[in-house]
Symmetry: C2
Subunit: 355 residues, 2 copies
Amino acid sequence: MKEVSIVALPGDGIGPEVTDVALQVLDTVCEQHDIKLNVTKRPFGGTCYDEFGEPVTDEILETCKEHKVVLLGAVGGPKWDDLSANLRPEAALLKLRKELGVYANLRPIFVHSALSGSSTLKEEVIEGTDILIVRELTGGVYFGKPRFSAEEDGDPFSVDTMKYSRSEVQRVARIAFETAKLRGKRVCSVDKMNVLESSRLWRKSVLEVAEEYPDVELSHMLVDNAAMQLIRNPKQFDVIVTGNLFGDILSDEASMLTGSIGMLPSASLGGENGLYEPVHGSAPDIAGQGIANPLAAVASAALLCRHSLKLESAAKRIEAAILKLLDDGYRPADLYNDEPGTTLANTEEISNRLI
Amino acid sequence: MKEVSIVALPGDGIGPEVTDVALQVLDTVCEQHDIKLNVTKRPFGGTCYDEFGEPVTDEILETCKEHKVVLLGAVGGPKWDDLSANLRPEAALLKLRKELGVYANLRPIFVHSALSGSSTLKEEVIEGTDILIVRELTGGVYFGKPRFSAEEDGDPFSVDTMKYSRSEVQRVARIAFETAKLRGKRVCSVDKMNVLESSRLWRKSVLEVAEEYPDVELSHMLVDNAAMQLIRNPKQFDVIVTGNLFGDILSDEASMLTGSIGMLPSASLGGENGLYEPVHGSAPDIAGQGIANPLAAVASAALLCRHSLKLESAAKRIEAAILKLLDDGYRPADLYNDEPGTTLANTEEISNRLI
Ligand SMILES: CC(C)[C@H](C(=O)O)[C@@H](O)C(=O)O
Ligand SMILES: CC(C)[C@H](C(=O)O)[C@@H](O)C(=O)O
């Protein structure tokens, strides 16, 4: 029997509840594939701060790097909001991404036909939307140096640095082109090249990579226009590749197309490492009530099977189970709206049905 | 008879057509208010580059600064897309904003009830939406220094600097609070303080200004969440204040709520200076055909009356004329969709009806 070892970082709020379901599902499909799944659990974010005085420890980072594959729940909550920047749960997330070197964040935006009524956008606009956002995750203004605060003539000011190098752009662009090859064969690169120097480098670097992929069609869009086009006509997009900050904004915006951010998984890849997490937050207001929607965490586990375990059939199995659950009319609280033919289901029921 | 003097920069593409209508409307209301309107016209953007080899000249900038009030059409087009960054039409726009010191860009996002069906969002979601976005316009990563390209170990890289000072934040925050006082008395400040140093300064500086406005309610939102909330529930917002880059993205996104960017005006203010321009671009594909929608330019002229000429009644008159035109069923090409009771109208017909 083959063994695989992963790290689980359930994190804060509803993180533990949804991670739990995802792990059970993962365990089930692994068993079906004759694989023994070993899970090493560690605290992360606020819960880690409570235990160790920092949102992530060196030991935890080392454990993640050793195992290469990490399933994360969610981090953050009002309890830790007043901590200084470097102690906040988000700081742990940024550190983990950087240490794992997971430079490509994949966020599929897929509108399930069973849910196409739950968006605030008109059904005919979003029906059939299937976008993959590839966000650069370890560079840009998130990590650029210098970053400091100072004072000039009595006026305090603060500085962040938006920096991209050609190699940083090209490795994430390659991921975008490679995945586009397996999908609609179109990549739209989003930048702000009419204003930013780093965006001009971005565009030039993407254009160079594009030459290696003559079968993939490349287009460019300015970020302000992209923010518009995602709402005006989302179906025009196949794969979108963009920088860290623009990707943060656009992928959250795009998540609204699906009607529920509670459905969206993400995979962050770099070399042999993979970090998998739902797009939604820790939802501290509903934590511990057993009503959290675990589907994004479960879908993240599917991505883990696909990208880290190379078990495409297991990934497909999990995704089919989610689809079936929705088609059968079961809805977690955040998706339930009393529609005829649908049934409200809590976290445990969903878990049982999936398995 | 009082006289007022303004500069008109019709610009490129449909710019001249729509500016023409706006100037006629402006002339009409000024006459009604016993004011003589003097208009100095200058080329700007691509048309200026064609004439003078640069997208704006010192003489033009000086003329604008002298007159303090500028009505702009639109700039840009494929013809000038391959020019180097500092020769492109957009460079002229950034220079003009900076030279005029118009640090506060006001973009009202108002859903006309006659048009609430033309958005891709569901009617019940956007009906009654009335947001004012106040975007900082002369700072942030648009203007931060250093900005350069270099090479490190054979790997080219580029850098932009996102910088804000307390005074820059506070003067635009004051505009947001002042305008909120005249509206719904709520300000939502948007930043990315969980990642950016400049956003932490932004938030702190806004909080200080808020103390001067105890009757205005202040909230804070992260930019990724704001991109989501604008689609999820736009009616929750009254005034949004944010930095240059975030404002660029969010205001274009928000423009989609209205169903047509062809409707949206903007005012950029700083001291005694005012720059007024439609939010839409130069639409080179339809330029010269007489079918451009001039309503955003006309609405910008209304803002010019309100903020620079202090002629609130003239502003209201213009806005009422636009409303009446729409209520009467007239639609410019970009808004026309064959709906019963509506009539397609070209630029000239719209102009005549308004006047
Ligand atoms: C929590 C925050 C630091 C993070 C980010 O901005 O990357 C989050 O918004 C995300 O998109 O994963
Ligand atoms: C043309 C461009 C430089 C400009 C900007 O980014 O400010 C435009 O998008 C706008 O919003 O007025």
